[in-house]
């Protein structure tokens, strides 16, 4: 009893201490506008050409610019450091005109040489300025034959083949333009004190605690609204939410679906939610019986109740998926109507396919929560129940994510659940990457359905070669009709982007690709 009383006494004493001491502006310079963004993990390296970590990219996005950028609310490409660009008739030569007068934070002019330097750094594993990094995204730039400066303001790319998504890849973070002076000076340490040309400059990094950025007042796109941005690490979801309630953070991400509902009811907080560019799906290995039979795959599509997954796992924040292309991505075929959920029909279809007594199959799944599957175990449980109702007996094999990827890329599964978060918001990044037979090489397959359909391949490969967006849209819509009919996968759900902030934060909104852009954000 005394122990408890003593604890309470201590807590009470401490709580009546100076209650103003934990207000966010405890130490900022007078009048300085500071915005605190709390997230679950720390960045690893702030070198856009040497990281694959999402937590690193959140910060580098504020520090660096790219030649072209994604629009504020879509994956459409808009000018950035390049003011305009032209393509040769054969689609293999791209010429970019650079913005005049842009400087890096260290004063180095951002010219054509700096662009060539940056692009070579990501493309070439032997580049002397590569600093021994990991460069997980090199593959996105493999199509570049060479890149050259033509005078200080013009950059010319020669491609190996015409490749329409090339432009969107230039808007991705690995194509950030880095200060050559700083890279040469800092070498491997560039990732600890990065120098770019973006709206914020790097100031300080206390590992596992915070990263401090300060405004680049002479930013070519106008000065940022906040003087300082602090990226703070609070690993636990509930603690992060409390940090927001306490006012020690102004924006938090990694908000769970049930928390989002609570936040919506609180006066001091604002819950943000916007459709994203990801989806979770159930893939069937079309090379293995019984899934080499289209009817069995169609039966699975009808046996699964997507609505229930969305309700039970996402509290209705997710959306049942129809196509392997979220509606936020251009080219998504909204005319396709989904297979109806009908266990009886599924059973009949199975019987017609020669399985009147049902089938026994395995289902491989990850245990690690993913943005598209916040609770993969729930997905597995619901799938087992739904499929059982149609006479499909499922044995689940659940593993941690990297082991799951290894197994499914080798094609060890009959069925597996998997998901995809877009890199560049281009339909090619979904349809070609996940379903083209080129991507069905055992050992490195992203096409974990091992779907090989010549008509489909023709369409998505043709769409890579043409640059006209209307023509590409037509090709992708046709390709989705094939996927719908052949059912190599059952798209399960699309998850929204979610975050929470304090009332009084202005100028911040969610981007469908999950990009965090804080240039216009401020605390009123």
């Amino acid at each position: 009893m005394r122990k408890l009383l003593a604890i309470l006494a201590i807590v009470a004493l401490a709580s009546c201490g100076k209650s103003d001491s934990n207000t966010p502006k405890a130490n900022g310079a007078p009048g300085e506008k500071v915005l605190v963004y709390a997230r679950g993990g720390d960045s690893e390296k702030l070198d856009p050409q040497d990281t694959t970590s999402g937590e690193s990219v959140k910060v580098t996005t504020q520090i660096f610019d790219t030649l072209v950028d994604f629009a504020d609310d879509s994956s459409k490409v808009v000018p950035s450091l390049a003011t305009k660009w032209t393509t040769s008739p054969d689609g293999k030569t791209w010429t970019f005109d650079l913005r005049v007068g842009v400087k890096f934070h260290d004063g180095t002019p951002l010219d054509a040489d700096a662009v060539v330097f940056s692009l070579n750094r990501i493309r070439d594993p032997k580049d002397p300025n590569r600093s021994g990094g990991t460069f997980g995204y090199t593959q996105s730039y493999d199509v570049i034959e060479d890149v050259k400066a033509e005078g200080p303001r013009k950059v010319v790319f020669h491609l190996k083949t015409p490749f329409a998504p090339f432009l969107t890849n230039l808007a991705m973070f690995p194509a950030s333009i880095v200060s050559p002076t700083a890279v040469k000076k800092l070498g491997a340490d560039f990732g600890r004190s990065p120098v770019g040309s973006g709206p914020f400059r790097f100031e300080k990094w206390v590992p596992k605690e915070k990263i401090v950025l300060s405004a680049n007042k002479t930013y070519w796109g106008g000065a940022p609204q906040s003087d300082k941005i602090i990226f703070k690490v609070v690993p636990d979801n509930s603690a992060r939410l409390l940090d927001l309630r306490n006012g020690e953070a102004h924006i938090i991400d990694g908000v769970s679906c049930p928390d989002l509902d609570d936040i919506q009811k609180e006066g001091a907080l604002v819950a943000l939610e916007a459709p994203g560019m990801n989806f979770g799906y159930l893939a069937m290995n079309t090379e293995k019986p019984p899934f080499d039979d289209k009817r069995v795959r169609q039966a699975i599509a009808m046996a699964v109740d997507k609505k229930r997954i969305v309700e039970l796992m996402t509290k209705k924040h997710g959306m049942p998926a129809v196509n392997p292309l979220p509606p936020t991505v251009w080219g998504s075929n909204e005319a396709i109507s989904d297979w109806p959920h009908d266990a009886a029909k599924a059973k009949a279809l199975l019987a017609a396919a020669g399985h009147p007594d049902g089938i026994d199959v395995d289902l491989w799944a990850m245990t690690t929560p993913r943005p598209y599957f916040p609770e993969p175990k729930k997905v597995v449980a619901i799938l087992i129940e739904d499929l059982a109702a149609a006479g499909i007996r499922v044995k689940a094999i659940e593993q941690e994510m990297t082991a799951h990827i290894d197994a499914t890329q080798k094609g060890q599964h009959q069925m597996c659940i998997m998901g995809w978060i877009t890199d560049n918001g281009d339909p090619d990044n979904f349809l070609h990457e996940l379903l083209d037979s080129e991507k069905a090489v055992a050992g490195s397959a992203n096409n974990v359905a091992f779907f090989r359909n010549a008509a489909f391949d023709d369409l998505v490969r043709k769409a890579q070669q043409v640059s006209d967006i209307d023509e590409r849209t037509k090709l992708y819509r046709e390709a989705q009709v094939i996927v719908h009919e052949e059912v190599p996968m059952v798209p399960l759900l699309y998850m929204p982007e979610m975050c929470a902030m304090r009332k009084g934060v202005t100028g911040y909104k969610l981007h469908p690709m999950g990009l965090v852009r804080l240039k216009n954000a401020r605390v009123e």
């Binding site: 201590i10 703070k232 409390l242 990297t402």
Partner: protein, 337 residues
């Protein structure tokens, strides 16, 4: 002199212990499911890039070769090396994170020892009466309640009000060269930071203190009951000493040896095991460092973190053994006893 020799011998004996720890950790890491190369390159990595990373990091070499290279690096450079995920020297990282853990563990131990001993003495004094039943009941709860659950309860009960995210508000900027907030604050004359820091410290310290508090209360009770029934206590009472002097002056001092052992062991365990508390309360200590290293498959960081914890455990244990001799002259260090 004899004490010094004893300490020296014990430190020497720690070398094979640490060597053993490093080998076991090295082995366990390699048995963990999950691929560090994929952890670095992400889910979309290509096999050729995975192979390149494995080769660059030497993970494609035989296990014993990797281990001996690791040992060589530790001996020649005094550090386990640089994290391949962050590029930071692990020795610096350990020196940065350990002070935060020490601060938290010390605060928790002060709470646990003070309240635990008090509860234990009360329970022993009124054995099988209500103070005993209540304090032992609470201590049973203290051992049983999972720390992360208690942490969550505390989070819910005391916010808004008490801060939960880290050691200080992130907007506060100060020169943190020792990484001990109080020492740094005194050093640079920012005493205003100390109350803010203490408020941040309170909830995690309470969460972390429950288990050791309960264990200490139980040991104190047992030890005190034994001593209170011994002859010299009866003699002291017969001589007419006040009950307070008998209990605190005579009995308690003689009951101290097992209590000190327990406090020491618990402190060592806190240094190693504040993982959950540090994660829940965003405390930038060694426990979180190790958790991050595990989830990122950061072999080198994990090695460094675990070795540092093992070393700290050895030192705390040694300190406890030395304390015995001070407390109880009958315990001879280094002698043949």
């Amino acid at each position: 002199m004899r004490l010094l020799a004893y300490v020296g011998r014990r430190l020497l004996a720690a070398v094979p212990v640490l060597l053993g720890v490093s080998f076991v950790v090295f082995l366990t890491i390699h048995l963990l499911p999950g691929d560090p190369a994929r952890a670095i390159l992400g889910e979309k990595a290509r096999p050729e890039n995975l192979a390149r990373i494995r080769h660059e990091q030497g993970w494609d070499r035989p296990f014993l070769v990797q281990y001996s290279l690791f040992l060589k690096r530790v001996v020649t450079t005094g550090s386990v090396g640089r994290s391949f995920r962050t590029g930071l020297d692990i020795r610096d990282e350990v020196l940065r994170t350990f002070p935060a853990t020490i601060e938290l563990s010390l605060a928790a131990m002060i709470l646990a020892t003070g309240l635990g001993i008090l509860a234990g003495i009360l329970a022993a004094k009124w054995q099988n009466r209500w103070p005993d039943i209540v304090s032992m009941g609470i201590s049973l709860l203290g051992v049983s309640i999972p720390v992360f659950f208690l942490g969550m309860l505390l989070l819910m009960a005391f916010t808004p009000g008490l801060p939960v995210g880290g050691r200080l508000p992130s907007t506060i900027d100060y020169d943190e060269s020792t990484h001990f907030v109080i020492i740094d604050a005194l050093r640079i004359g920012r005493t205003d930071l100390i109350p803010i820091f203490l408020r941040h410290l309170l909830l995690p310290a309470i969460a972390l203190s429950t288990v050791p508090m309960a264990v200490i209360a139980r040991i104190t009770r047992t030890s005190m009951i034994e001593v209170l029934s011994s002859d010299f206590v009866r003699t002291a009472r017969a001589k007419g000493l006040s009950e307070t002097r008998v209990v605190l002056g005579h009995a308690f001092r003689n009951a101290l040896v097992p209590i000190v052992t327990t406090v020491g062991l618990q402190f060592g365990a806190l240094l190693a095991g504040a993982v959950l508390t540090e994660t829940v309360f965003a405390w930038p200590g060694i426990g979180r460092f190790v958790v991050d290293a595990i989830s990122g498959r950061d072999y080198i960081a994990l090695q460094g973190g675990v070795l540092a914890i093992a070393a700290a455990f050895v030192v705390v244990n040694l300190a406890v053994d030395v304390l015995y001799a001070v407390l109880d002259p009958r315990v001879r260090v280094g002698g043949s006893a």
